[in-house]
């Protein structure tokens, strides 16, 4: 199975959060921050914005750690998807994800993660870029030779995440 991913160039993210609002609206039917499967960590002092969303990784610790077997690979896309019926909201999956891509929606009392919107993610669609300049989010189907480059970009983004995280430790 080929690996579909949301490829992120965090240096192009302006922190507008259209992706966050859209994801929540499309999945929960209302705009609520905790209902979104994509989040942005922003550092106004550095002008850095780091989007966080599922990388559709190979290791899939979220699937392994779920005691209810509520996270299962999507038939077509392979991405781990949370079955809301089965999720009991224990939150074991949240720290298990190395990419900080699973969050908890206290209103629904369920974990939330990306399902790739059937292969045409809305977060990517709203991240239009400007004219000939691309936005921060792109959908990508990875061949073997591209995996290394993609993983490298994910690592760079995680490094930026650490920097911003440490800077905002007051939270």
């Amino acid at each position: 199975m080929t690996r579909q991913v949301i490829d992120i160039d965090y240096t192009r993210c302006t922190g507008c959060r259209a992706c966050v609002l859209t994801c929540a609206l499309a999945h929960a039917g209302v705009v609520r921050l905790s209902a979104s499967a994509i989040h942005i960590l922003s550092s106004p002092d550095e002008g850095i914005n780091v989007p966080l969303v599922c990388t559709n990784c190979k290791e899939r610790p979220c699937i392994d750690v779920c005691p209810e077997n509520a996270i299962r690979p999507h038939e077509k896309l392979g991405i781990p998807v949370i079955d809301a019926e089965s999720c009991v909201g224990c939150q074991a999956c949240i720290p298990a994800c190395p990419y900080h891509a699973i969050s908890f929606d206290p209103i629904a009392a369920k974990a939330v993660k990306c399902d790739l919107c059937d292969g045409d993610p809305l977060c990517v669609q709203v991240c239009t870029g400007v004219n000939d300049m691309p936005g921060a989010l792109h959908i990508l189907t990875l061949g073997d030779e591209e995996e290394g480059k993609f993983d490298h970009r994910v690592q760079e983004r995680m490094n930026a995440y650490q920097v911003v995280r440490e800077e905002s430790e007051y939270s």
């Binding site: 302006t14 959060r17 609206l25 002008g47 206290p106 709203v126 004219n131 000939d132």
Partner: protein
């Protein structure tokens, strides 16, 4: 409460600071239909709350924070917030609007808007988290700068998603042009909304929460929002705004000798190549581009440099910042504009009025209006970056007699200094004019003259005549027909039609919480886009004409507010220098906007609006056509109709 109304959360928070009372009340869906939200609702409440002739410093003067009806949605650039009150600088209607994420977050905290009246005994801040509102002691915050205040509240309240609206020292010290900052970098800047916030001893409003915003037709809304985003993002002007920011326009403006320099005594800044938006990027100062909520353009900048080995950073600088703190002071080193911009944000000063006041002071010194003892040791020379920074600090703290003098703005300062100094106070009705060459750009001249808050560019950005993008050309032809002569920036013909269009759509955008750059400047979105978004979100079906009509209704109500206080055609004017002193160089040499020219444009404009040509006041017919019969009655009772 009308549970069916989408887009809005459905409730407003009323805060009486004198009685320390907080009260939630439902939002009236009929008012949303009439005034759309945001700026429109602000004007609606202001009219209802403020009695005729009220002193802006009376504690009954409300300070109204309204999110846009489409804020917290993916509608393009939809996160703008309007702050409304009676303005301390002009004594007239005042709305001041800012981008950022405050408005959407206010909705997630549970409210569409906040209406603050009264005055607290000591400094307080208002905390709203997940629907719970509380007034808290702010003595420890008093005196702090804007970023210190935000940092301190974030630590105390412990949430990263917190958004803070606050004042800096300028608002505490009654500087008449203090801002309300809606983040460390986003200012509701003009006219002194921060002055009123300070007068109420309200240091800050911190909002946060995980509430839900519902839209009536979500799928259809999402489709419309996606389409609208594509349209805005494709536009070449959006592209330019993204790459170089608002200040990218300085190069061509300067080349055409339309870039006000040295307090509007010149129109060509010899350092513009290195003191402007393009140089921010090319010179390596641009650190990042910042998007307001759901923005498709990201014109806002984050810039970094060093002065004397110390890191200097700011949000911006914008076009107007370069006008006020750059060309206007003939600054040759861009680093001082970056630092000055950052300092104004920290202190809570409006850059246009602050820069305008310093420009006036330098010209006053040049013309012998100050004795050495009036100057507090300042040389008051052009191109003196360090002195500009020191003066901004003095103004914000009203320190020394010069700082105290300039903190009142150029109109009052000129009254105190006397002589002819009022002639180079580039203000009308008390507000320092935006740094736009209104002697040349006649559409701007008209728009500035009729602006209910004084001469500035934020109720209409009529750049249309000169713009050559496909969207701009199409709109220009729709408004004025194909004749090329109307495309001249210095033409006075059809300016009434152009200004009315810009005012109406701008008011609608402000009400929806959307940025003016989506439908003016980048002339991509039209009223039918707004109608679709509004209707799908709220469930109130309005068509394109009705959206424009609602925009016109907001303009009419704002004018009625000023008319009730005795304002009339005489107030629709421009600074003396613009009316009387011609441009000295370049292709527009000899040009000014004479009183006669302005009068002609005003006649046309009043006729289009259906207003009384003698007085510039709304008529029974114009008010009735916009379903403002209650306003007509109120004006009639006091003999103003």
């Amino acid at each position: 409460m009308n549970g069916k109304l989408g887009g809005c959360v459905g409730q407003l928070l009323w805060v009486d600071l004198t009685k320390q009372k907080l009260r939630a009340a439902p939002i009236d869906s009929r008012a949303v239909r009439m005034f759309l939200g945001g700026r429109g609702m602000g004007a609606h409440f202001l009219w209802n709350i403020v009695p005729r002739g009220l002193d802006p410093f009376d504690e009954r003067n409300p300070l109204i924070f309204m999110s846009g009806t489409l804020s917290a949605t993916p509608a393009p650039a939809s996160g703008r917030t309007t702050v409304t009150c009676k303005g301390p600088l002009t004594g007239m209607y005042l709305k001041s609007n800012s981008g950022g994420h405050f408005g959407p977050t206010l909705k997630f905290a549970g409210y569409d808007g906040i209406i603050v009246t009264g005055r607290a005994e000591g400094p307080v801040y208002l905390k709203i988290q997940d629907g719970q509102a509380e007034l808290c002691d702010a003595r420890a915050l008093w005196g702090k700068t804007v970023s210190e205040t935000i940092y301190s509240l974030s630590r105390t309240l412990g949430s990263r998603d917190l958004q803070v609206a606050c004042i800096g020292p300028a608002g505490e010290n009654r500087v008449l042009y203090a801002t309300v900052m809606l983040s460390a970098h986003n200012a509701a800047a003009r006219g002194g909304v921060g002055t009123i916030m300070g007068d109420k001893r309200l240091k800050a409003i911190a909002v946060g929460g995980n509430g839900s915003v519902s839209l009536v037709h979500q799928r259809a809304f999402l489709d419309s929002a996606l389409k609208a985003r594509q349209v805005v993002a494709k536009d070449p002007i959006s592209r330019s705004l993204y790459i170089f920011g608002t200040a990218g326009g300085i190069g061509p403006t300067n080349e055409a000798h339309k870039w006000p320099t040295r307090n509007f005594t010149e129109d060509h800044h010899k350092h513009a190549d290195t003191v402007g938006g393009e140089h921010l990027k090319r010179g390596g100062y641009l650190q990042g581009r910042i998007g307001c909520s759901s923005c498709t353009t990201s014109c806002h900048r984050y810039s970094v440099t060093e002065i004397d080995g110390k890191r200097v950073a700011c949000g911006g600088p914008e076009f107007e910042t370069f006008g006020a703190l750059g060309a206007g002071l003939d600054i040759s080193d861009i680093r001082y504009v970056i630092k000055g911009s950052g300092l104004c944000n920290e202190l809570g000063l409006d850059v246009i009025s602050a820069g305008g006041s310093i420009q006036w002071a330098i010209e006053t010194r040049e013309r012998g209006g100050f004795s050495p003892s009036d100057r507090d040791g300042f040389t008051l020379n052009w191109d003196n970056g360090p002195e500009m920074l020191a003066l901004l600090d003095r103004i914000a703290h009203r320190e020394g007699q010069l700082g105290d003098l300039l903190a009142d703005g150029t109109k009052r300062a000129a009254e105190r200094v006397g002589g002819d100094s009022w002639k180079w106070a580039v203000q009308a009705n008390g507000l320092e004019q935006s740094r736009v060459e209104t002697r040349v750009s006649k559409a701007y001249a008209l728009a500035f003259a009729v602006n209910p808050r004084g001469p500035d560019h934020l109720t209409a950005e009529p750049m249309l005549p000169e713009f050559t993008t496909p969207a701009a050309k199409e709109l220009m032809e729709a408004l004025c027909g194909p004749d090329e002569k109307y495309r001249r920036d210095d033409s006075t013909e059809k300016r009434d039609v152009i200004v009315r269009y810009h005012e109406d759509i701008y008011a609608a955008l402000d009400a929806l919480g959307m940025c003016a750059f989506t439908a003016t400047c980048a002339y991509t979105l039209r009223a039918h886009h707004l109608a679709e978004l509004f209707s799908h979100a709220t469930g109130i079906n309005l068509n394109a004409d009705q959206i424009m009509e609602a925009g016109a209704r907001i303009i009419e109500l704002e004018r009625a507010f000023n008319v009730r206080d005795g304002r009339n055609r005489n107030n629709d004017t421009l600074p003396w220098r613009i009316l009387n002193k011609p441009v000295k160089t370049g292709p527009y040499k000899g040009l000014r906007t004479s009183k006669k020219e302005l009068d002609q444009m005003l006649d046309g404009y009043y006729t289009l609006r259906g207003w009384n040509k003698e007085t510039g006041q709304p008529t029974r017919q114009s008010l009735a056509a916009l379903h403002l019969d209650d306003i007509a009655e109120a004006l009639e009772k006091i003999g103003l109709l």
